[in-house]
C-alpha cells in the first residue's frame, strides 16, 4: 500500500527520484527501493488500476412537465393524423426521385443485409420503438385483452346476447335484495380521492365511469381523474384513465374525452368564459335522442347552459335561473323527467326545489317547492316507462336526513322517508321498477326502498363495511346493479336481484290509488 502511493506520485513528476512528501498524507514514505524497480512496478500497478476502472450505471432524474391545455379551435382534430399524411407524401416524392439511380445499389444492399447476422438493437433503438405511436396503440389494445384473459376463468370471447339470456334464467329475484358484487379501486388513481359522480354508459351497459376529485396528498398528480370500469370482466383495473386539470365534479361531458385518441387529456373543453359557466358545474345531463341531443349543464351560480356536442366553444343558449326576479338559484341537482326535453326540476342549496322549463312562454323557473330543511343533494325523476304515467313524480335527498317524494303538480312533498341518521347524499329511481329507488347516506348505508312493500323502512339496507360516506348512487340501465361511490375513491357494485318485467305490470294498477290521492295525508 505504501509503495503504491509512492509510485503514483512518481508518475506525475518528471524527476522521479525524490518525490516531495504529500501534504496531509497518512501513509509513510519508503525510500530504500531502487528507482528503476519502482518505475517498473509503477507501470504495472498503474495498469492494473486502470483495468479495474469501469463505467458505472447511469443515474437519471426525470420530472414530467405539467400538461398545458390550450385550444384555439372549437373542434380539435388529432394532430398526428395530419403530420403523418404530410410525411407520407414527402416520402413518396423522395422515393420516386431516388429510385432510378439507386435501385441497383439498394438491391445489393438488401442482399448483403439478408446475409448479415441480425444484430441486437441498442438501448436507444429499443426505447425509440417502445415510444413510437404504433407500438403504443398496439400495446394499449392488447394489454386490455391480456388483462381480461388473465383475470377471467370463463370464456373471454363471450357474446352479449348469450350472457343476457343466461342471467335471466338464473334470476330468482322475488323482491328486492342487495348482495355485494364487486369493488372497484385503483391503488394509484382512486386513493385519497372523493368520488364526485358516476354514470353508466348507454351504449355499453357494462361500462361505468366514475369521476374523482383531487388528491391532496399528491399535489403533482392531475387534479381531476375519471376512470372507466367494466363490470363484465373480472379484471380489477380500469379500462380507461382520463386526466383533467381541474377537479371533476360531474362526469364526463363538460370536458369531452375521446376514447379513440391515445391522449389521456381532454380532447375538447369548454373555455372558462363569462358566456358559459364561471362556477362549479354540478349537474350535467344529456337530453334528447341519440342523433339530436343537447348537453345541459347547470352551475352553482344559477346559470343553465345548453351545448351542442359538436361545438363546445360556446353554449347554444344560456339562461339565468332566477325565482321571482330575485337572486339566482344555487343549483345542486337537476333532473329531466323521462322523455321530456323542455321541463325539468332542480334542487338548490337552500333546500328548495324548483320546476323550470328551457323554452316557451314560461322559460326559466316556474314554481317553487318547499320542504327540505337543508341543501338538496340529489334529485331523480321517475323513469320506469309503463302504462301509467308517473313522470310527474320525483324524489329528492337532502342534508336534513330525509328523502322526500314530490309531484310536480303539488308544491308540498307527498311523502317524507325518514329512516336515515345522517346526510343523505344521493337518491335515484330504479330505471325499470316503478316502486323502487336507492339512497345513500353519510354513514356508509345503501338503502333500497320498495314502495310496494313498506314506506317506513327500506326494504333492503346494507352498511358498507369500511366505507365512510357514500357520495353517489347510480342504477345501471338494466336495473340489475347499483353502483355506489364513496369518499375514499371506491366504487362498490351491488346486485339487486331485480324483479322480472312481468311483475312490474301487475303492480302498476295498485300503485296510483295509494299515492296520487294521498296528498292530504302527506307527511312533512
Amino acid at each position: 500500500m505504501f509503495v503504491c502511493l509512492l509510485k503514483v506520485s512518481i508518475c506525475k513528476h518528471a524527476c522521479p527520484f525524490f518525490p516531495p512528501p504529500l501534504v496531509g498524507d497518512i501513509r509513510t514514505l519508503q525510500w530504500d527501493t531502487d528507482p528503476s524497480v519502482l518505475q517498473l512496478q509503477a507501470d504495472s500497478e498503474h495498469g492494473r488500476r486502470m483495468q479495474r476502472l469501469g463505467a458505472s450505471k447511469i443515474t437519471q432524474v426525470d420530472f414530467l412537465p405539467k400538461e398545458v391545455v390550450s385550444y384555439c379551435k372549437e373542434t380539435q382534430t388529432p394532430l398526428t393524423a395530419h403530420l403523418s399524411e404530410e410525411e407520407e407524401e414527402e416520402d413518396e416524392e423522395m422515393m420516386e426521385a431516388k429510385s432510378g439511380p439507386e435501385s441497383e445499389q439498394q438491391d445489393e444492399d438488401d442482399n448483403r443485409e439478408n446475409k448479415e447476422v441480425l444484430r441486437e438493437l441498442t438501448e436507444e433503438e429499443r426505447q425509440q420503438i417502445l415510444h413510437s405511436s404504433e407500438f403504443q396503440s398496439f400495446f394499449e389494445c392488447s394489454i386490455r385483452v391480456m388483462e381480461r384473459a388473465l383475470a377471467e376463468d370463463s370464456n373471454i370471447f363471450f357474446d352479449y346476447g348469450g350472457r343476457e339470456l343466461e342471467d335471466k334464467e338464473g334470476d330468482l329475484g322475488s323482491g328486492s335484495s342487495l348482495s355485494f358484487s364487486r369493488l372497484f379501486y385503483d391503488e394509484h388513481w382512486s386513493k385519497h380521492r372523493v368520488i364526485t359522480c358516476l354514470d353508466w354508459s348507454l351504449q355499453y351497459p357494462e361500462l361505468l365511469v366514475a369521476s374523482y376529485n383531487n388528491n391532496e396528498d399528491a399535489p403533482h398528480e392531475p387534479d381531476g381523474v375519471a376512470l372507466v370500469w367494466n363490470i363484465k370482466f373480472k379484471k380489477a383495473t380500469p379500462e380507461y384513465i382520463f386526466h383533467c386539470q381541474s377537479p371533476v365534479v360531474s362526469v364526463g361531458f363538460i370536458v369531452l374525452w375521446d376514447n379513440r385518441s391515445h391522449r389521456r387529456t381532454p380532447v375538447q373543453r369548454t373555455p372558462l368564459s363569462a358566456a358559459a359557466h364561471t362556477h362549479p358545474v354540478y349537474c350535467v345531463n344529456v337530453v334528447g335522442t341519440q342523433n339530436a341531443n343537447n348537453l345541459i349543464t347547470v352551475s352553482t351560480d344559477g346559470r343553465m347552459c345548453s351545448w351542442s356536442l359538436d361545438m363546445l366553444s360556446q353554449p347554444q343558449e344560456t339562461m339565468e335561473l332566477v325565482y321571482n326576479k330575485s337572486k339566482p338559484v344555487a343549483v345542486t341537482g337537476m333532473a329531466f323527467p323521462t322523455g321530456d326535453v323542455n321541463n325539468y326540476v332542480v334542487g338548490s342549496e337552500e333546500g328548495t326545489v324548483y320546476t323550470a322549463s328551457r323554452h316557451g312562454s314560461k322559460a326559466g323557473i316556474c314554481e317553487m317547492f318547499e320542504g327540505h330543511q337543508g341543501p338538496v343533494t340529489g334529485i331523480s325523476c321517475h323513469s320506469a316507462v309503463g302504462t301509467v304515467d308517473f313522470s310527474h313524480l320525483f324524489i329528492t335527498s337532502s342534508f336534513d336526513w330525509t328523502v322526500k317524494l314530490w309531484s310536480t303538480k303539488h308544491n308540498k312533498p307527498l311523502y317524507s322517508f325518514e329512516d336515515n341518521a345522517d346526510y343523505v347524499y344521493d337518491v335515484m329511481w330504479s330505471p325499470v321498477h316503478p316502486a323502487i329507488f336507492a339512497a345513500v347516506d353519510g354513514m356508509g348505508r345503501l338503502d333500497l326502498w320498495n314502495l310496494n312493500n313498506d314506506t317506513e323502512v327500506p326494504t333492503a339496507s346494507v352498511t358498507i363495511e369500511g366505507a365512510s360516506a357514500l357520495n353517489r348512487v347510480r342504477w345501471s340501465s338494466g336495473g340489475k346493479e347499483v353502483a355506489v361511490g364513496d369518499s375514499e375513491g371506491r366504487v362498490w357494485i351491488y346486485d339487486t336481484g331485480e324483479v322480472q318485467i312481468h311483475w312490474r305490470e301487475a303492480q302498476l294498477s295498485w300503485w296510483p290509488s295509494r299515492w296520487v290521492h294521498g296528498n292530504e295525508k302527506s307527511h312533512q
Partner: protein, 113 residues
C-alpha cells in the same frame, strides 16, 4: 480479517450518505417555498453542509456534491450522469426531495483515494 474491516471503513455506504444529504436538505430548505432571492444561499448551504458532514466521516474519499433546485412551474426536468471509475470502491448517491413549490436534487459522488 483486517482487510474486511478496512474495506467496511473505506467503502462508500450509500445509506449513510443518503441520510446525510436528507438531513442537510431539510435543514437548509425545510419548510420554505421557492423564492428566487433566497435560492442562492439555499443551494450553497445544502452543498456546504453535505460536504462538511461527509468529510467528518473520515473516510479516504474524494467527494463531489452537486445540488439542483428547480421551481415547480409546470416545466419538465431531465438529468443524467454516469462515471468511469472503480466500481468496487467508488459510489454515488442521488437524493430527490420535493415540496409543493420546488424540487431539490442532490448528487454525491465518492471516489476512493
Amino acid at each position: 480479517m483486517d482487510e474486511y474491516q478496512a474495506e467496511e471503513e473505506t467503502a462508500f455506504v450509500v445509506e449513510e450518505v443518503s441520510k446525510i444529504i436528507k438531513e442537510s436538505v431539510e435543514a437548509a430548505i425545510g419548510g420554505n417555498a421557492y423564492q428566487h432571492s433566497r435560492v442562492n444561499q439555499w443551494s450553497t448551504s445544502v452543498v456546504e453542509q453535505c460536504l462538511s458532514q461527509l468529510s467528518k466521516l473520515g473516510k479516504p474519499f474524494k467527494y463531489i456534491v452537486t445540488c439542483i433546485i428547480t421551481q415547480k412551474n409546470g416545466a419538465g426536468l431531465q438529468t443524467a450522469s454516469t462515471c468511469f471509475w472503480d466500481n468496487s470502491s467508488d459510489g454515488s448517491c442521488a437524493v430527490r426531495w420535493e415540496n409543493k413549490s420546488m424540487y431539490c436534487i442532490v448528487n454525491v459522488f465518492g471516489l476512493a483515494l
